[in-house]
Structure formats: C-alpha cells, structure tokens
Amino acid sequence: MSHCEATELTGDTYTRRFDTGPDADTLIVNMGPQHPSTHGVLRVIVELDGEYILRAEPVLGYVHRMHEKMGEVKSFTQYLPNMGRVDYLHAMAWNWAYVGAVEKLGGVEVPERAEYLRVIATELNRISSHLVWWGAYLLDLGAFTPIMYAFDDREIILDLLQIITGSRLTYCYFRFGGVTADVTPAFVSGLTEFIARFKSRLPMYTDLVTNNVILRKRCEEIGVIDVDMARRYGATGPVLRGSGVAYDTRRAEPYGIYDRFDYEIPTFPEGDAMARYMVRMREMEESVKIIEQALARMPEGEYLNAKAPKPAWKPGVGEAYFAVEGARGKIGAYVVSDGTKTPYRVKLRAPSYCNLSLFAELAQGVILADAVSIMGSLDLVIPEIDR
C-alpha cells in the first residue's frame, strides 16, 4: 500500500517524478485517465493527506491527435472537418475560428445571410454545450437526474442542427465564404418551438437545481479565482467572467455581425464555482436572445459566396489570426500560408488548456470532493486540451 517502501520502480515517469521525497502519511493516487469525474482521459496525480489534497498535477496527452500537424499536411479545405473534432461540444466556434482566419488571409467575402446563419448555428451549439456541462457538472456533484433533463433539451438542438449540417456532434458547417446549407422551413419552425420550450425549462432548472441548498453548499466559496489569478493563467470565457471581468470576444473584438445584436455579457464577481455556474446559466438565456434577433432579421440571399474558393485554392503568402468566443472561452486560430495548397503552419489556441492550468493551484489544500467540484466548474473538454 505504501509507496515509500517499494524498492523496484513503480508507476510511470510522471508518478515517479511526483513521488520524490514522499511523506509516509500521504497517499498518492491517480485521478484518471479513467476516472468518472475527469470526463474523458485527463489524468491528475494527487497527493492526499486523508481527504485533503496537498498537491495536484494534471498530466496531458492521452488524446493527442496531432491536429496542428495535420493542418500542415492537408489542404485548406481538407482541414475543415478537423475543426469539429477539436472541441466536440462547441464545434461551431472552432469552425468559425479557422474559417475566419482563412477568410482573413485570402480576403474572402461572406454573404449577409451566411453571417446570420453562422450566428444562429454557433449560438444554438453554445446552448447545447452549456447543457452538457450543466448535466455533467451535476453528475460530478452526485445528482443523477439533471443530465437527463439537459439531454432532453439538447436532443432537440441536435435534431435541428442535423437538418442544416447533416451531423449531430462533430459539425463541419462552415465554408470559406459562407456555410454549407441554407435553413429549411422545418428548421425555422422547429427552432421557434424550441425557443418557446427552452424559455419555460430554464426557470424549472433554477427551481430544481440552482436553488437547491446542497448544490449551493457544494459550489459557494469553492475554488475562488480572483481577477489577478485568472489573468496570470490566461483564463477566458465563463471562468474569467465568473471572476467579474466582462471580457467576451464577441464584445471585445467583434467578429461577424455580433455588434448588431442586443445582448448582455453576464458577469459575477464572486469568482467561486457558483459564479461560474451562474455565468453559464445566464449565457444560455443571452444566446436565446441572440438567436431570436438573428432569426427575425435574417435577410434573403446567398448562403455561400458564388466566388467561394475551390478545393485546390491557394490563398497567397501571408498570415492571419482570428479569435472567437467559444463556450469555454477564447478560441484562436493562427494560420500561416506560404502560397501553396497546404497551410505552412496552423496554431490553435484552446481555452480549456489555459483554464485547466488553474486547477493545480486551486486544488491545493482543498478536500477531494471540492477538487471534483472545481474541475467540473472549469468545464474542461479534454480533446481540446490535447488537440
């Protein structure tokens, strides 16, 4: 049982490095890569003194799929499907980041209608991403039922997005100069129905879960991130807004047509897990607001630029960076072209990677159950971290 008596080498490089100078009374355990609360293959090595965590260190790389390297091998168009697989929960935002960067690089125009379609698809996807987070977080806290309610709603979103994109999870909806398909009447009526239904569901979520005293005790004053700490680690998205900073890429560096809509950037100053929870719950409401406005104002016209690049297109020498606001924070794509069919370099900025780096500091000295709550409140998507 005790790790200090072992004479032969045990564990792997990470465990051994972590194991230096152990205290006989502490326990070193692997949380993950197969652990119910790490949602995927994140591995965290923790040193426990009873129930208290002395040190925690995340180990990455279990789903490293060389997305950035693939960008150097595939042509600009061929790389599009990769974007749906970086963050499987908010695939649309990644679509937008890469397509946006390439459009900037090649000076491709996007038709007005396509801009609106992009906003609708991305915001719908943001709601579905937050719903999965909500259900999974409650699962981490030991409540089994909310995830079923969340998936009930998410299922409708997936059905809707399936109509316009053809897929249910790893979307590849964006094209250079527009989107792949226009909306259908079935989509529009389905979306209107969904919005009405979802608005009545949100108060139910509040009554059933948000106001529950056990949930509040598990979230309030847990994992407090102050503004300084959030800045030091480069946290973005709901994690940063949960610390009271109203930074949202949609507002701070407007892209697409986001400057035309009336919506709020919800912030909560407490910086604890509950603040991050509330930010996401409010964001779903704001996304609904954006979708409603976009649906009402969407003009007629082309959904794809008639002069959109062909598959063998070469954008010319140059470089471009494009940032969008994903469900987890600021998503950035940096594309360098040397004038050939394939990018010279693609660099992806994943918000989960920065948000995860907060965990080691936050988990120090907390009780094991709180570490689970903190990790859940950061809303990590592991494939996005490893890329």
Partner: protein, 331 residues
C-alpha cells in the same frame, strides 16, 4: 432405532419456529430485494422522464432476475496484492447478519420470528456489523480509493448511529418497552394514533440517520462514484459486488421496517389490521428514500459530519430528555 416421534418431540418448539422463520425471511429478503431493484429502476426512470426497464417481462418485472443472473455468471476476480480472506469475508459479513435483523420484526400480530422483549436491542446491535464489512472490504482490496471509502464508511456509520439510537430510545421511553410487538400494539389503527404524531422530531431524525446509515444518496459518500470511483467496492465484481448491492437493499428494508414499527403503527391499520398495512407503509418509506437519491446532489464529507455532530446529535438529545420528562410528568 430410536423413535422418530420422540426425537422430534425433543426439539424445542422455539427452535423449530426460529428455523422456519429464518427460511421464511430468506425468501422475504430475496423477493423484496428483487422487487426493490425493480422499484428503484422504475422510480428512477420516471423521475428522469424515461420509462425505466420494460423489455424483459411485463413492465420489465423480470429485469432484476436477469440482472442477478448476469452478476452470478461473472468471473470472481481477486485483485493482486489483496488480502484474499478479508476480501471475500467482507461481502458475506455485510449480507449474512441481515437475517438476524429481521427476526424480531413483527410483520403482523403473530407473524414474528422471535417475540423477545429485547427486539430493538437485537436489531441495533447487529446493524453495527455492516460497518465492519465495509471497513474490511476497503482494507482488504489493496486499492487506495477503496481505503478512502472504508475510512468514510466507518466515520459516517459511527457518527450517525448515535442520533439514530437516541431517537429510537425516545420511543422506548415513551412505550416503556424494547419489544417491537408491544410498541406496535400500543399504537392505534388510525394515523393520528401513531407515534409519529407524538414524536415527529424523533421520526425526522431517525429517517435522516437511516438514510445515512444505509449509505444512500445524498449521503452515499463511502461509494461516491464521482470522487472515489466506486469507494469501498471498487475492486469487487460479479457476486462480490452483488452481495454488497443486496445488503444495501436489505438494509434499506430493515430501516424502513423499523420505522414502520416504531413510528407508523406497524401492522395496525384502518379497517383490517394485517401484514399488508406493514408492507404498504414500508414501501412508501422505501420509495421516499429512492426519490431522495434521484433528486439531490451529494453532500460533502465534512458537511455530512457537521450536520450530524452539530445538529442531529444535540436535537436527538433534547428530544430524548424532553420525552423522559414528559413520561415522568404525565405517565
């Protein structure tokens, strides 16, 4: 050749009754365990807005039997480096004492295994064995998560046993007896004649402690799967896990039976007293416990202990002292 009749006559009637009761209880626990698995899955299903099991048999009634066959059919794996003896002793130790817990419970006026004037004491004494089983399971399996689960199980069970005991004692004080038959007999048929009317606080405390003692959500910390993977039964598969599972359900039935006897008038009921009233009340309480599990998030371990030591224990003390005074003054 000795005379068979003489030999049979030599067996004390009490012993015959006890053996028959044990056999009957085995059937009772087995059937109710299976029924409860089905009820749990159905209730969970409807709470989560899905139908629950419905494929195997009418309304999915055969589902728990199929589950049991699956568990029995699985290979029994003993993890390397584990203490083999303790590892396999633990599930047996958690399950076997259950039969003893049922012996003094009066299901109806005459349907009781052993009508002893120390029935309550017997139950409380043997209920403690379950902690030992969880502790050994966590220790014997050579798994760090299991060890943490065992530590939690011991701290939790020991803590919650005290207010549980004190709230039960209040009823004994009031009735002046530890015999479950007598406690039932002193209550009337109608709900306002039950002990829960006189002792609402004791019932409230007992029920919270009972949920905690049986390791059910929101107090299921020894197995908290999002923190400890599976806690004390991390390494158990097949029937090793099955026995813990069955013991959990059997323990739920025990605590709900005791609550029925102590607070809800046992087999007494309007119109026609009998075992059916006992079962109805017991199942209502069981469904409430299941409902808790599928609604609430899990509390944190220090919150669990704080709740006990700072609230439940003082409250149960006050309740006991108040009962003692009331009995002295009015009885």
């Amino acid at each position: 050749m000795p005379d068979m009749n003489a030999l049979l006559a030599g067996i004390p009637a009490e012993l015959t009754r006890l053996v028959l009761a044990l056999i009957g209880l085995m059937v009772f626990i087995g059937l109710n365990g299976l029924a409860l698995v089905w009820v749990e899955r159905k209730v969970a299903g409807h709470v989560q807005r899905r139908p629950g099991p419905f494929e195997v048999g009418p309304f999915g009634l055969i589902q728990p039997i199929v589950d049991a066959i699956k568990l029995i059919g699985k290979q029994l794996v003993t993890p390397s480096g584990s203490d083999k003896f303790l590892f396999w002793l633990a599930p047996l130790l958690s399950f076997l004492p259950i039969f003893l817990l049922f012996i003094p419970i009066p299901f109806s006026k005459n349907l009781v295994g052993l009508d002893t004037n120390l029935g309550l004491l017997l139950i409380l004494a043997f209920a403690g064995l379950n902690v030992l089983a969880l502790c050994l399971a966590g220790w014997g399996q050579n798994n760090k998560w299991g060890l943490l689960g065992a530590g939690r199980a011991v701290a939790q069970s020991v803590a919650y046993e005290i207010p549980l005991l004190l709230s039960v004692l209040a009823i004994s004080f009031q009735t002046g007896s530890l015999s479950l038959t007598e406690i039932t007999a002193k209550q009337g048929a109608w709900p306002w004649q039950w002990n829960i009317i006189v002792q609402p606080l004791a019932f409230f405390l007992y029920f919270i402690c009972a949920v905690a003692e049986t390791n059910r959500a929101p107090f299921d910390l020894p197995e908290a799967e999002s923190e400890l993977t599976a806690g004390f039964h991390t390494e158990y598969s097949g029937m090793g896990f099955g026995l813990f599972f069955l013991a959990e359900y059997a323990n739920m039935i025990v605590v709900c039976s005791v609550a029925t006897v102590l607070f809800l008038g046992g087999w007494q009921g309007p119109f026609e007293p009998g075992w059916w009233w006992f079962l109805i009340k017991m199942y209502v309480l069981l469904v409430v416990i299941i409902w808790f599990r599928w609604t609430y998030p899990r509390v944190r371990f220090d919150q669990l202990l704080n709740l006990n030591w700072k609230w439940l224990l003082p409250l149960s003390m006050v309740n006991l002292v108040a009962t003692a005074f009331a009995v002295k003054l009015f009885a």
